[in-house]
């Protein structure tokens, strides 16, 4: 019990004293996860919209693969990315292993199916008659996509929340492809694992609290935007 209490007290000290290492790890986590989410959003929404709007051979199989990807274990993603980026792997020549780029790639692969799957579902749930009405109003294909995405903005915001939430809190892939190198690839989750294994519970708890606050804040902002959109 003392251990936990001491850990919590130390955590608050670290938080309020503004430990530079704590804030560096926090900032780096945000940069990596925001970058991965942004790229996933661009690719996932674009491809998801095309899949949602079109009918082609093998579409169902593709959607089932995307849905499977939504539940892909981060360690498996980490393993696959490691194999590809390893010195002797297909992309070894780019020397990306144990760099932030490798972490962004891994997190992108984790969040992509989530955002793509949500996009496909949200585009499909729009009444086909509404699509016909938009066509009848004289919309070009691009105008149609823009209007449909506007109509589907609430589930799309949920997609962003789910995508960001899945990668800011994952540890397996970041550890495997980033290597948890101090000052270079250490993020909140990998730092928590390390501090925990060292018995530095105060630091681990402090980082855990920050991680929870970050996840909460990002979701709070998106929820406010989502609910405001709903009222509009």
């Amino acid at each position: 019990m003392d251990l936990i209490l001491e850990g919590i007290i130390q955590a608050f000290k670290l938080l309020f004293q503004g430990d530079p290492e704590v804030w560096r790890v926090t900032g780096f986590s945000l940069v990596v996860s925001f970058s991965a989410t942004a790229i996933s959003l661009i690719v996932g929404v674009s491809v998801g919209t095309v899949i949602g709007l079109t009918r082609f051979w093998g579409r169902r199989f593709l959607v089932s693969l995307i849905n499977t990807g939504m539940g892909a274990p981060p360690v498996v993603v980490g393993l696959i990315v490691s194999l590809f980026l390893w010195r002797s792997g297909p992309f070894g020549i780019f020397h990306l292993m144990y760099t932030p780029y490798a972490m962004i790639i891994a997190q992108f692969i984790i969040s992509l199916p989530i955002i793509m799957g949500f996009t496909v579902a949200s585009i499909q749930q729009i009444d086909p008659k509404l699509r016909m009405q938009i066509t009848a109003l004289g919309a070009s294909n691009l105008q149609m996509v823009r209007l449909l995405l506007t109509e589907a903005r609430l589930p799309l915001l949920a997609a962003v929340m789910a995508g960001f939430g899945s990668i800011i809190s994952e540890v397996g892939a970041s550890m495997m492809v980033g290597g948890n190198i101090l000052g270079q690839t250490r993020v909140l989750t990998t730092a928590i694992v390390l501090e925990n294994s060292k018995g530095q519970f105060g630091m681990a708890i402090a980082l855990g609290i920050i991680l929870m606050i970050l996840v909460y804040l990002v979701n709070l902002i998106l929820t406010v935007v989502q609910q405001r959109s709903k009222v509009r």
Binding site: Q133, L137, T150, E151
Partner: protein
């Protein structure tokens, strides 16, 4: 069945330029099933054409083919003399027409956003958008709702907004797919009146699908009847409702009694048709021995209380009978009479009261020979 037409002109166009849209040998196959098969179909500029037909007959598919929303499996759509080919042409043509669906199908955003949307999509000048939208929101009585969220509107309000959205586009042709359904009777009636006055004012070419015969009668210059994917009759409303081309249409338009008989005599166009034990004089060209279907409009039957011999009347057919059932329909009374064969008459409620009609009353049903539409039965 007197009516005023919207354009007041039932004349067929005498040149291709008077044609707004034409279908040639158009079929639409969906899921392996032929939904419509239309060898020829023409919509004249400035007319209000109503499409009626039973459920599942292909009305909506026909409308969507005309509105370039459904691509025909075979055949050609010709818009103002120009065959429609590629998707760029289709987009350009879609921007010259507008469509109102059964549901209002408003997007998220305000009423104003919705009514301006089509204009923005069609790249209408900004300065032009505001007056146009204001004009049509006012015209349909929803200007005060401009700032309201479109999805918070009542059914009637939403329909008005969808009509304003369609007319604000200043279309060359407006297509409407049962636009007044799912509304309560007073709301529907008021909207119908407003819509009718807008049509009279704009004289825009109109193609409308409806299952309400009264709407077709009130709004249409011509009516097309579609059954099982084919146009079975097309003509002036009067013609469709009083002279349906076959029994199926007569049953569908349901404006009169349908009786079956055999022509027993025909003298210079005045034919006597035997119906069971009874004979009925009609005006037709069928020859003795021909089987015939007789359509007697409900409102062309006169009911009398006393013996017909007491009255001098020009009606050639007089059948004594007994009232078996009476029920009111609006301001009128539907009276079913057993004359040895069933006849239903539509009379005013006041007449029924003054005659003291009740179930069991002895009456005489009189029908003029010229009121009976006779169809040859094959």
């Amino acid at each position: 069945m007197m009516r005023n037409t919207i354009a007041g002109n039932n004349k067929a166009p005498d040149s291709a330029s008077a044609l707004a849209i034409e279908l040639k040998d158009v079929t639409v196959v969906l899921g392996g099933k032929k939904i419509i098969d239309i060898p020829a179909f023409k919509v004249n500029s400035g007319e209000a054409l109503m499409i009626i037909g039973p459920n599942g007959s292909g009305k909506t598919t026909l409308l969507q083919s005309l509105a370039l929303l459904v691509k025909p499996s075979t055949g050609q759509v010709i818009y103002r003399g120009e065959p429609v080919h590629d998707s760029r042409q289709i987009l350009a043509l879609r921007r010259r027409i507008s469509v109102v669906f059964q549901e209002p199908l408003l997007l998220s955003g305000t009423v104003w956003d919705n009514v301006t949307l089509g204009l923005k999509l069609r790249s209408v000048e900004k300065d032009e958008i505001k007056p146009r939208v204001e004009k049509w929101l006012k015209r349909f009585g929803v200007i005060e709702l401009a700032k309201r969220q479109a999805r918070t509107l009542s059914g009637g309000e939403a329909k008005r907004v969808s009509l304003a959205r369609a007319f604000a586009l200043d279309p060359e042709v407006i297509f409407l797919d049962e636009p007044f359904t799912a509304l309560d009777s007073p709301t529907r009636q008021k909207l119908l009146e407003d819509f009718e006055s807008v049509l009279r004012e704009t004289r825009v070419t109109t193609v409308m699908v409806t299952h309400e015969h009264n709407e077709a009668l009130a709004l249409g210059d011509r009516i097309a009847v579609i059954m099982n994917g084919s146009i079975v009759q097309m003509g002036a409303p009067q013609e469709i409702f009083t002279a349906p081309a076959n029994e199926e249409i007569a049953n569908f338009v349901e404006t009169g009694n349908i009786l079956h008989g055999t022509v027993s005599e025909n003298s210079e166009g005045l034919a006597t048709i035997t119906i069971g034990q009874h004979e009925m004089d009609t005006c037709c060209e069928l020859k003795p021995g021909n089987s015939a279907i007789l359509l007697i409009p409900y409102d062309d039957i006169t009911l009398m209380l006393s013996n017909p011999e007491d009255h001098t009347t020009s009606a050639r057919n007089r059948f004594p009978g007994k009232v078996v059932k009476m029920f009111p329909t609006g301001s009128q009374m539907r009276v079913m009479v057993d004359c040895g064969f069933p006849l239903t008459a539509l009379i005013t409620r006041r007449s029924a009261e003054e005659m003291g009609l009740k179930e069991g009353s002895a009456v005489v049903a009189a029908v003029k020979a010229v009121s009976i539409h006779v169809i040859s039965r094959h």
